[in-house]
Amino acid sequence: MDREHGQHEPDPDRSGPAASEPDAPGDGGAGGWVAPGSTPSGALPEPHTGQWSPPASEPGPGTAPRAPQGRPPHPGHHVPPDGGDRAQGQPSTEGQPRSWWGEDSGGAHAPVVGFGEESAHQLSPRSMVVGPINQLRSLLLPVLAGLVVGGFNPWLLTATGLGVVALLIGGLVTWKTFRYEVGEERIEIRKGLIRRSRRTIPLERVRGVDVTSTLLHRMLGVAVVRIEAAAGSVGDTEDGKLDAVSAEEAERLRRVLLHRKAVLTERGTPQGQGVREERDTGEGEDVRDGGGPGGSGTSGPEGRDGAGSPLPAGAVPTAAQDTDGADDTVTHFTMPGSWYLYGALSIGYLLTPFVVLATLFGMVQQSAGEMATDFFVDWVTTADRAFLVLFGTVSVAVLVLLMPVFAVVSYALTHWGFSLRDRDGSLVAERGLFTRRSVTLEKRRIRGYELLDNPLERTRGAVGLRAIVTGLGDAATRAVLLPVGPRSRVEPVVDRALALFRGPLTRHPRAALYRRLIRSVLPFAGVAAAAAVLDVTWLAVVAGILALLGVPLGVDRYRSLGHGYDGERVSVRSGSLSRSQATVERSAVIGWTWTQTLFQRRSSLADLQVTVGAGKGGYTAMDASLDESVDFAARITPEMVRPFLATDEDGRDRDGDRA
């Protein structure tokens, strides 16, 4: 990251508010050149005085159109292979990439600049393209359908064209007006043309930095950075989103933010020599490649740890994450090849072929409309019956046979090269083939973990792992720490990365079984009975079958119920089709709630919810015995529960006063 500063340093005109323009193509790597900290808006109109202006100078407004033109070749050639090149943005050409590399070493000395003062950065100019394309993509089908239906009439075409232009201009405006600044203690994001907004996030409150890049992003060498901040109020998950900075800049930001944060919170990690052992899977490498040079920037602009280790030049092109001397990267996990097969056990992924089919069908119908339907109907009605039956059976059989294959493939796409690392007091989980997403979770914010499995996975003893983290939005995807894998392998990782819950779970009373059974059977039985009365045979049969299936389901749900405490961690488990066992540290328990419905009261059961300021906010031990669960809570947090325990005599009159 110093690199960046270093790089700009020498530039005499770096002060020019203007640099924006020319930078467009090239700066990507730079993560934005340094704008004068002060002027977000000032930068707007200037033509490039900028440093490495590419020869071709465009007028300000020209940029937007031009950028797109520049692009196409881009996606074309490279995807992963030439990381460096791509990262720099191809048009840049003149020596820019070189300057990077050259600067790299030089950069280490120059960090001082960034130290005290802040410098504003812009998004990567390539974001001007990415944003509109992403917006377009969601509109593509409706627009296309509109065009087809409208018979490509010129008005529609014009309107569409205008729309596209508007989007591009929007992209330009966003880029022009967007500034972010990383200071000593806070990061500030300013944006907006008409309604300007400025968001300041104190660095101590940064909870994590996510870097995501879709295929499109990666083709352009950019990434989206989301800065998770501890929001003041509950449910306010607003955070800083930098939609498309260059990959290097993303990596740099992540390091700087987390590092400074660590310093601020006085948790600076000891200057461990990085372990950086692991060879990444090819994939990981490649992705990071884009980030490679960036990562090599090692020290924050403040150069605090820069001194620690001058980075070996050799390290640069390889995985970014390893090059930093200041951190202590420990790899807890890299995905073994066989683990991709577990995708076939995931119900969601098993259904992919159908989802894909449905989507395809929808697309065909939308675009080709009635023609396709007519054709299909025609074909069905004219074809030979026996052939149709055969065809139907075969295609269904093929689909079913293909289900696991599709599941594994799509699972592999999202979990490709999964790795879990421990760095700078954070856990970094990275995965994905096309969309590479890297989530950084600060360990201090991790309150526990969840082990998840479904019945299919249970047959193979497989289990997935998710972290319970404070202030993390979209936890379902972002808190994933490990892909589904054999429990025997997952648990040691949990133990190393966090700490494993060791202890038995208390079973819930028998009455809970009846409640589970009633829940899973009764509704369907009711429907079946009603259908039988109304003489709707098929419904009665279907509901009857479902009711029968409800029996094992209910039993299994009951069997998975449990809660336990091992002296340091509290664990509750429930669910069958998707079972989850949540384990949180004792200190993370910030309250208890018992709820008891009328029916539960009759069998003196209650749901005990462990309140946790993380993850889902609460984890429930369903249908526990009320009395036992109160004792349970009192054992875990005596200071919280004991003052309210009934002594024997008033325990009795509780009922009286309940009236």
Binding site: V234, G471, W592, T593, Q596, P638, V641
Partner: protein, 193 residues
């Protein structure tokens, strides 16, 4: 008026041992009741809701009975009037029973470090919220509550599930309590997650 803990359990058994390792313990009810005027608020609130629903249902029934829509079976349109009637019976029963029942269930207590509440009527919930985990304390008063001079106190923690609401407190008491809690939360506060 401030509701004294008229039916309070004497705090004599201040530090009750949890009934041993038998693995069984009971929560005693919180000491304090909410203001008696809360019954009025709840009653009126239910009443307004019921009136609104009744109007809607009556309109539907009227429309079903008189409008010439062919797709409604005769049996339905002829008996449409039963809908609002049945609803009024239900609503009246609810209005008569629920508020006072609720009043009996709703209780609260602010211990040394913990806010303990019990709410509900048919179903109940007991909640413990440690004061040092409080993030916000909201004191709100709707127009209806203002008429009856009661207030709602809402304490929020870092977890949405850990938010607790005490309805129907005497407004003076609520204000005092919210200030006190805010101060205590400030002094006790750690990271609050």
């Amino acid at each position: 008026m401030n509701t004294p803990p008229h039916d309070a359990i004497p705090p004599s058994g201040e530090s009750p041992e949890p009934p041993g390792s038998a693995g069984v313990a009971r929560l005693r009810p919180p000491l304090r009741r909410v203001s008696g005027r809360a019954i009025g608020v709840w009653t009126l609130r239910l009443l307004f809701g019921a009136v609104f629903n009744l109007v809607v249902l009556s309109l539907i029934a009227w429309a079903a009975g008189s409008a010439p829509w062919g797709w409604i079976p005769d049996r339905v349109s002829e008996n449409a009037w039963m809908l609002p009637v049945a609803y009024s019976v239900y609503a009246l029963a609810k209005i008569a029973i629920v508020p006072s029942w609720r009043y009996r269930v709703h209780r609260w207590e602010v211990g040394d470090d913990v806010i303990y509440t019990r709410v509900g009527w048919i179903s109940r919930a007991w909640q413990l919220v440690p004061v040092n985990r409080l993030q916000t304390v909201d004191h709100t008063q709707g127009w209806l509550e203002r008429i009856f001079d009661v207030a709602t106190l809402k304490v929020q923690t870092a977890s949405y599930a850990g938010s607790s609401t005490i309805e129907g407190l005497d407004s003076e008491e609520a204000r005092r309590l919210s200030e006190e809690l805010a101060v205590r939360a400030g002094t006790l506060r750690d990271d609050a997650t």
